[in-house]
């Protein structure tokens, strides 16, 4: 059986299109709403980062997703041709938001990497031949 593959321009307007593919694929796999929501959030955060930071919002560049199944899990592989950046390692290093912070010092950005880590069951990064490849796995239960 073939995988499902999607390629979009590196433009934030297309992230919702990619999210709808992830949701549809999750439905085809009969994933629960909770797992579907987690997968959607993780993929959206990863795509937001790839489009903004790896591709500099340049819509002449493409970002690709390959969605498939592992036993009991959905896998989404995201590929871009931006500079090497290990989102998984950076996410592990990202400090958790300290809720004891006073309003004045609350961060109003920088939540993405920690969110990918928290919503994804297995995340792997690989640099292969000029591509960043981020492999996100979501367990069905």
């Amino acid at each position: 059986m073939r995988a499902t593959a999607l390629s979009i321009p590196a433009h934030l307007g297309y992230v919702s299109l990619a999210a709808s593919v992830v949701r549809s694929a999750a439905q085809l796999m009969n994933l629960s709403d909770a797992v579907t929501n987690r997968a959607e959030l993780s993929v959206v955060e990863a795509l937001d980062n790839v489009i903004e930071h790896a591709c500099g919002n340049d819509p002449s560049r493409a970002v690709s997703l390959v969605i498939g199944a592992l036993p009991g899990a959905m896998q989404v592989v995201i590929r871009d041709d931006g500079p090497a950046f290990d989102m998984v390692a950076a996410g592990k290093a990202a400090a958790r938001t300290d809720t004891a912070l006073r309003a004045a010092t609350l961060p109003d950005s920088g939540f993405g990497l920690a969110l990918i880590n928290e919503t994804t069951d297995i995340a792997r990064y690989e640099r292969t031949g000029g591509w960043n490849e981020l492999r996100l796995v979501f367990f069905a239960s």
Partner: protein, 128 residues
């Protein structure tokens, strides 16, 4: 095969507003609040604040999905309100949105009400 692409219109934020005494209830008319809209969303809310609406209730009942950029926009407006002794309430979070607030520990930062009615009853009981 020639490669065509879809020109994406600049994002426009649609906010429905309703005054309840000193409170302004603001309802984003978007089922997805994401990085594409976040900048415009933040600006629109701050514009309301600057134009004198310093007690804002953001009604998220229409929002099925939110990402961390849109959350960041809410944090920015919250900080501004707190800094200037205004009020910034949120209400009616969908399960996915509530989960975003929990995962980022922002549930304990914002004042979150189940419904608009609850928020209004608490802060503007004479203006239901």
């Amino acid at each position: 095969m020639p490669s065509f692409a879809i020109p994406v219109a600049r994002p426009t934020v649609h906010l429905q507003t309703a005054a309840h005494g000193p409170l302004l209830v603001v309802r984003p008319a978007h089922d997805r609040l994401n990085a594409h809209l976040a900048g415009a969303f933040r600006t629109a809310l701050l514009d309301l604040f600057e134009s004198g609406h310093e007690r804002l209730v953001v009604d998220l009942s229409g929002v099925a999905f939110m990402d961390s950029s849109a959350l960041g926009a809410l944090v920015a407006v919250h900080k501004r309100c707190v800094a200037e002794n205004g009020l910034f309430l949120l209400c009616d979070l969908s399960p996915a949105v509530a989960s975003l607030f929990d995962l980022t520990r922002m549930s304990s930062v914002f004042r979150i009400y189940p419904t608009v009615t609850d928020a209004v009853a608490t802060y503007a009981p004479n203006h239901p």
